[in-house]
């Protein structure tokens, strides 16, 4: 609340309100971890209940999943560079890497939607079995987060272009970075416990 600025800290940590916002977002990520943990738990319980429908091995396509993983993990890396450039006060570099991040995120989404459409085409829908219900909702929740993230980052880019780097825009970008890395971590768990485990089962 106080407008006191501590110039010794990175831009996004300079005001008290900014520090609170960042801590608040960490707490929010804690809640998100519980949310995804619950979805993973549900998948763990229902993941082998096929009700006569297809199994993981029947539908998963290794190549496409590898491409998705590659796109999303790379986007996390470019996100990191974007924040690095922000710390160097290089707006141009920051925006460029942020746009790369979004393009990679968009590519991931495209691949994921294509994957879902392929499954539905093969008759593996959300309504087919408990396995597919929990699969689609877990993956869909992650995909929805990515979608929201892309929309959010576009608003962010507009604001950075309008206002330049201020403690407020820097904080917003930093928080978006936390969010984006978090989605990456969730994907690593999805990749491991849904795809890899499903293929070796």
């Amino acid at each position: 609340m106080s407008a006191k600025v501590n110039a010794a800290l990175p831009l996004e940590y300079q005001t008290e309100q900014n520090r609170m916002n960042i801590l608040g977002f960490w707490v929010f990520l804690g809640a998100e971890i519980v949310l995804f943990a619950t979805l993973f738990g549900v998948y763990g319980v229902l993941g082998e209940r096929y009700a006569g429908g297809p199994t993981q091995k029947d539908i998963f396509i290794v190549k496409d999943v590898m491409i998705q993983t590659f796109l999303l993990l790379t986007s996390s890396f470019t996100m990191g560079i974007s924040i690095f450039e922000m710390r160097r006060s290089n707006i141009k570099g920051m925006l460029m890497w942020l746009v790369f991040t979004l393009l990679l995120g968009g590519g991931f989404l495209f691949m994921e939607i294509r994957e879902f459409m392929h499954y539905v085409h093969e008759g593996a829908t959300m309504q087919t079995s408990a396995f597919l219900s929990s699969f689609f909702v877990l993956l869909g929740t992650h995909g929805l987060h990515v979608t929201i993230g892309i929309g959010w980052a576009i608003l962010l880019i507009v604001q950075i272009v309008q206002r330049g780097l201020t403690p407020v825009t820097a904080r917003k970008a930093f928080i978006f970075g936390l969010y984006w890395h978090f989605l990456d971590v969730v994907w690593i768990f999805i990749f491991t416990f849904v795809y890899l485990q499903g293929l070796v089962m």
Binding site: V27, T38, L39, A130, S133, V137
Partner: protein
């Protein structure tokens, strides 16, 4: 498209028809009254768009009290129905709906708003802050709660109420056995309100961690702040589970997935587990802040520092950890192995240890204290024995083998009412009497308060004590009627009479609010109870910026020590600085409205329309993102004027109403 237009309004029941007319008339009356007295502007700018934690707290309390009326009428209807054998006042379906809405409303729309309301009002003041960490988010939490409550409440006139119990177990709550849209109201309304609660949790974690005034270390925080902090952590850790469970319920009911349905490989027990993984911590979410309020109230009126402060803190932390490890005790009889049941029996009984520590600490706080028997203190005193009855019967229920006898009987119903009413409702009443002067600048009348107290406590015991014995005799819960041969009649009648006394007690509170608002003395000063914590160090009612200069704390019970050592800061003109505060905003109430509309459409399974309405939600988020309002500054002159006014009054002519 789940519903036909001719089923839109609930028809065919004279009781509901009467309430439909009643609601319509009340709405028209309220709108006309607001227009006639030209209060729209006042309401909008002072309340609907406010981000002031004190006003938001008061609005939460208002919602809680109104919902208490609704939930209470549900309770009275059940008691009326079961007062005599073979009664036909309510039919089975109507009875199912009434006990479902009673449970949901009392827990989620009475206990939660009242506690969060008091937290909102008191916590920033107790820690010497000017607001919560995220004032706008706080307003959003409130309006989402209102949105959820409104959506849930219209279910009984539009579309039909949920009827599968507040636990809404599958398969009963699934589409197969509950084909109407009633249970959609449950899934969607609680989802919206739950999102608001989660944000409150995040807000208060950060507020307590980051906004404490200078010198207030964690171990110098008042106990209500401590318990609210721990409660907020439990909220963050458990509400997302409920979010997922409700979302999966919506998917099962609306989109035909197979999470909890038996067909398609789903698992009904998964719902029971997810529900109680949230539901049991929820019990502690409501009871811990109540414990904290009692601690502050007891030490104020016993005029002693809280006994065993450190052990209190350790106890609440232990309770919060254990709260996550006991959920299976809600379904000991539903097919777990003996080993699993034993584990959860032991964790459940273990909760009695920290809780027992707390009870003894309260008793030792009162020992050798010079107790003032104010209404607030009476509630705290009545809490102890009544809550112990609830706790001891809880340990009885915790024994899995014995639970096979008690399960699904009125014994259980009596037990949790003995926990939740003395453990949550009594402390809320105590808190209302205690902090009312801080909120409004006048006290609730002590004499009417004693009527309220005695009627309520006696009525409560007469209502629920017989239910222990009915339960042991084999009376099952949620049964809308019973035959005369069971012999339940007399005790059921006593219980029904008790509920009328209970209701009279609540009526006394409502009358007290009305009477005191009109007649109570306004000249009471800032510290009418001779209290101990920082909220009493500032004006009554509190000025919008809370503190002219933030207080500095050296000890627990900071304000008490300031008074004793004559360290109350006098007002000096050069110490005053401009105060920065956030501006009002329309976005939270707008979000409440669009969430409500979108949720309503989703309840009726008009999914495309709901999706279109959800664009309004995204638009609200975008507006918020582009909102760079910097807030405003309160000028020195204004602060000086406000401060000298109440400080002058504090020295002369103020009546101490208590001693």
């Amino acid at each position: 498209m789940g519903i036909k237009w001719d089923e839109f309004f609930v028809t065919g029941d004279p009781l509901i028809f009467a309430s439909q007319i009643g609601i319509a008339l009340t709405l028209v009356g309220a709108l006309a009254g607001l227009t006639y007295f030209k209060k729209w502007n006042y309401l909008w700018s002072e309340w609907f768009t406010t981000v002031d934690h004190k006003k938001i707290g008061i609005m939460y309390i208002l919602v809680g009290v109104v919902m208490f009326l609704r939930g209470g009428i549900d309770g009275l209807m059940m008691k009326g129905q079961t007062a005599v054998p073979e009664n036909d006042f309510l039919n089975a379906q109507h009875y199912n709906e009434v006990f479902t809405t009673h449970g949901v409303i009392m827990i989620l729309f009475v206990a939660m708003p009242l506690l969060i309301g008091l937290m909102n009002f008191v916590i920033p003041l107790q820690i010497g802050a000017r607001d919560v960490a995220f004032p706008q988010l706080n307003a959003l939490s409130f309006w989402l709660t209102v949105s959820g409550a409104a959506l849930f409440n219209i279910s009984f006139i539009i579309g039909g109420s949920p009827d599968a119990g507040w636990t809404s177990y599958f398969p009963l709550a699934g589409k197969e056995f509950s084909p109407g849209i009633g249970n959609n109201f449950y899934a969607v309304a609680l989802q919206i309100a739950g999102a608001g609660t989660l944000m409150t949790g995040i807000n208060f974690v950060v507020t307590v961690l980051k906004m404490r005034t200078k010198g207030m270390t964690l171990m110098k925080m008042p106990m209500f702040t401590w318990t609210s902090f721990i409660t907020s952590i439990i909220i963050v850790a458990s509400f997302p589970i409920f979010t997922v469970a409700l979302a999966l319920m919506t998917f099962d009911r609306t989109f035909g997935t197979h999470f909890f349905t038996i067909s398609g490989g789903g698992m009904d027990m998964l719902w029971a587990n997810l529900f109680w993984l949230w539901g049991h911590p929820e019990v502690y979410i409501v009871v811990l802040p109540a414990f904290g309020m009692l601690s502050d109230i007891i030490s104020t009126f016993a005029r002693k520092t809280l006994y065993g402060y450190k052990s209190m803190v350790i106890s609440i932390v232990m309770i919060s950890v254990l709260s996550m490890l006991v959920w299976v005790h809600h379904f000991f009889t539903m097919g777990n192995s003996a080993g699993v049941n034993s584990f959860f029996s032991i964790t459940t009984m273990a909760i009695a240890i920290p809780t027992g520590v707390k009870v003894f600490n309260w008793l030792f706080t009162m020992r050798k204290g010079r107790i003032k028997f104010t209404t607030a203190m009476l509630w705290a005193l009545a809490f102890v024995p009544n809550f112990v009855i609830g706790g001891v019967t809880g340990v009885m229920l915790a024994m899995a083998a014995a639970d096979y006898q008690y399960h699904n009987t009125l014994f259980l119903v009596a037990h949790f009412h003995y926990v939740l009413i003395p453990g949550v409702v009594f402390p809320i009443f105590a808190g209302l009497y205690f902090w009312w002067p801080k909120m409004f600048g006048y006290m609730l009348n002590e004499k009417i308060g004693k009527w309220h107290f005695w009627l309520f406590v006696v009525g409560f015991n007469v209502t629920f004590m017989p239910m222990f014995f009915l339960g042991l005799d084999g009376a099952v819960r949620r049964a809308y009627t019973y035959s005369a041969e069971t012999g339940f009649g007399p005790l059921m009648m006593i219980s029904a009479v008790g509920s009328v006394i209970l209701a009279a007690g609540f009526a006394a509170l409502v009358y007290n609010i009305y009477w005191s608002a009109r007649n109570a003395d306004r000249n009471i000063g800032n510290d009418p109870w001779d209290a101990r914590t920082l909220e009493w160090a500032t004006a009554t009612p509190v000025q919008h910026y809370n503190f002219a200069s933030l207080p500095e704390v050296t000890k627990l019970d900071a304000f008490w020590h300031m008074k004793k050592n004559n360290q109350l800061q006098p007002l000096s003109e050069d110490e005053i600085e401009e105060i920065h505060l956030p501006s009002n905003t329309w976005i939270p109430i707008y979000m409440g409205v669009v969430f409500g509309i979108s949720g309503f459409l989703l309840v009726f399974e008009w999914t495309i329309a709901a999706g279109v309405a959800a664009i309004g939600i995204l638009a609200g988020l975008a507006f918020r993102s582009f909102d760079y309002d910097e807030g405003f500054h309160v000028h020195k002159d204004e602060i000086f004027e406000t401060e000298s006014k109440w400080r002058k009054g504090a020295n002369k002519g103020v009546k101490n109403h208590v001693s």
